[in-house]
Amino acid sequence: MRRLPVYLLLDTSGSMTGEPIEAVKNGVQVMISSLRQNPQAIETAYISIISFDSVAKQIVTLTDLASFQMVDIKASGTTCLGEALKLVSTCIDTEVVKTTPEQKGDWKPLVFIMTDGIPTDDWQSGLEEYKKRKVAFTVACAAGTGADANLLKQITENVVTLDTADSQSIAKFFTWVTASIGVTSTKVEDGGKEVTGIGELPPPPSELNIVV
């Protein structure tokens, strides 16, 4: 059974306190509940949550949807995106199964990043590490005016922005992530091939601005 690993990198820095962090928690819960109704996703999608503020932590290891239980997250501290990129790199090394003649490995992972601010650590070295790993695609979401979409563009081609980091916008982002995971689960199961890019995903809602 080839798994579709999904890594969510979530900014839990101080600026996310209040409405934004609640919206993120809610977004993840709703995402998990929805995906549980998707027969392909429930078989193939495995989700991991990495939070980053003053430190980066893998708060939920790669878990299948049926077993997944969301942990509580609190917002405080700075924004160590670089560390988060390094952490997801090592997680990919240890958690994603490679294909060998004896066994079929996992599909290439999907990585979604959400941040509302500027990284406060050495994100470039984090990016260098991250680039060494193979992923199906990376999507970065710049939530609100505090984030820097151009900086995120250096991490990935696929950058979307939210005008504000409020409940509605964040909820829309997670709805889109849900749909993307759902569609990808179906595509890899049916087509037997990796999904190669954001073009294969459902179109994002109007609240998400695609950065060209």
Partner: protein, 477 residues
């Protein structure tokens, strides 16, 4: 009647009054110590003091109780998720939770989802019948709590996943479509001196969205004593592949039914005995050439038919992408002769009489991550220097089974390509067909089995997570 106690040379009563005065910023100087002593021995005062101490103790006790109740209510208690229809077990040990002071308890909400708490084995157990994000109410009383007070309540979330099988819908495919084909077909038929049991079923992923079966098959007895079985797997990414696989299968059969082909195949009748008696280089080479010429022409014809169809129906050739495998069989005095061709990722396998050996007639076109299969619609296969190797020939005294299958069967049953060469894996498949499967469905592969079609059709509905593709399996025995 309150009796004053002496602690550290000062009674409780005196202690209390002294503290009270201090809290009101009143000092007791040396010359008022006598007054204080009298004060705390006065009966009325002692009664007041005793009441105060009793009230304080009550307040303390009450606070500790409510604090403890709050601790228990806020304590993070997580139990694993369950799934509808799957037996559930969750350890719920009060000792491990440090809940030794719970005197009475009740679970509310377990019964109506099919679970219960067994206090002897300290497990929440049962088989959940209802999916959802359930909130189980754990009602409890702790020691020291007045009995008449109602239960305290603690919410324990319990997530029950729906039965994955129930999430798959079965939508009708559009019968008005010009290239519609029946969703599921299962046939049992004589095939020359042998039997053919074949089934082709629409995959759950297609049924879920009401699309078509893209696998196909065909078979026929031929006038010259040969029989033929064909299987084709239309590509999921090709919009008319259901028609592509159908054209491919039927075109192969039609080709071999043509008088010219019937005639050409007669050359085998001389070569086979010669091959059996002296397997000299020449006879083998002649046979290979004959296979290549006869089957090669058939394959080329199929490709042409597909090209023509695409042209006359405003389609790109790749819209008809399909894999293709077929085998011709004839019984000779010298044994059974098998001729085969394959393009794509569908295997053709022969299991010998005593089931100690499996002979794979073709190699599979597979890419790095399993997505690199090739199709009969690809002109490049004809030009490749590997083209000749797609054809196979085998002469066997006898055999037990010839099987042709699409990846909808080999993915769940064999998983990796390497397993196809392992006879043990084929034993497993035969055992599986014999009833060793999750649903306990047995298919008796005997021509006198009146229920063989029904059994095989049911077996073909097997559940395999992640494997919801169309599936086709042809067994010749």
């Amino acid at each position: 009647m309150f009796v004053s106690k002496k602690i550290n040379g000062m009674s409780d009563a005196k202690q209390l009054v002294t503290t009270l005065l201090k809290n009101n910023n009143i000092q007791v100087p040396a010359d008022r110590k006598q007054l204080l002593n009298q004060f705390v021995q006065d009966e009325a005062n002692l009664r007041a003091i005793s009441t105060i101490i009793k009230n304080q103790d009550q307040l303390m006790t009450k606070w500790k109780l409510e604090n403890r109740i709050a601790d228990i209510r806020q304590q993070s208690v997580r139990i694993p998720n369950g799934t509808v229809g799957k037996p559930y077990e969750a350890r719920f040990d009060f000792d491990l939770l440090s809940w030794k002071d719970i005197t009475e308890y009740e679970f509310e909400g377990l019964q109506n989802i099919g679970l219960h708490y067994d206090s002897k084995i300290k497990l929440i157990t049962g088989t959940p019948a209802e999916s959802g994000d359930h909130k189980i109410i754990f009602k409890f009383k702790i020691s020291g709590q007045p009995a008449e007070l109602p239960f305290n309540e603690k919410i324990i979330p319990l997530i029950i996943n729906p039965d994955p099988r129930s999430l798959w819908k079965t939508l009708e495919s559009d019968k008005a479509d010009p290239w519609w084909k029946q969703d599921d077909v299962t046939i049992f038929s004589p095939l020359g001196p042998l039997q053919l049991l074949v089934s082709s079923k629409r995959g759950r992923s297609h049924a879920n969205v009401g699309s078509f079966r893209e696998d196909d098959f065909a078979f026929s007895e031929l006038e010259n004593g040969w029989s033929i079985v064909v299987v084709a797997d239309g590509a999921g990414s090709a919009k008319a592949s259901r028609k592509g696989s159908s054209i491919a299968c039927n075109a192969v059969v039609e080709y071999f039914k043509e008088p010219a082909a019937i005639d050409n195949m007669k050359e085998f009748d001389q070569l086979i005995p010669a091959y059996k008696n002296n397997t000299g280089e020449e006879t083998a080479a002649k046979i290979n050439r004959l296979v290549y010429n006869n089957l090669g022409k058939a394959v080329f014809q199929v490709h042409k038919n597909l090209e023509e169809f695409a042209a006359t129906n405003n389609l790109a050739l790749k819209d008809l992408n399909s894999t293709l495998i077929f085998t011709l069989i004839k019984k000779y005095q010298e044994g059974f002769a098998f001729l085969s061709f394959g393009v794509g990722d569908c295997p053709i396998a022969i299991i010998n009489k005593d089931k100690t050996e499996v002979i794979l007639m073709n190699w599979l076109d597979v890419g790095e991550f399993g997505g690199g299969t090739r199709f009969i619609t690809m002109a490049e296969i004809f030009k490749s220097d590997k083209f000749a190797s797609r054809f196979g020939f085998k002469l066997m005294d006898d055999f037990s089974y010839l099987m042709l299958m699409s990846d909808g069967i080999y993915d769940p049953k064999f998983v990796v390509e390497n397993s196809l060469a392992d006879i043990k894996k084929w034993h497993q498949l035969l055992a599986d067909l014999g009833g060793k499967n999750e649903d306990g469905v047995a298919v008796v592969l005997d021509k006198d089995n009146p229920d063989i079609v029904e059994q095989f059709s049911r077996w073909m509905d097997f559940w395999s997570p992640g494997n919801h593709d169309d599936r086709t399996l042809a067994i010749v025995f």
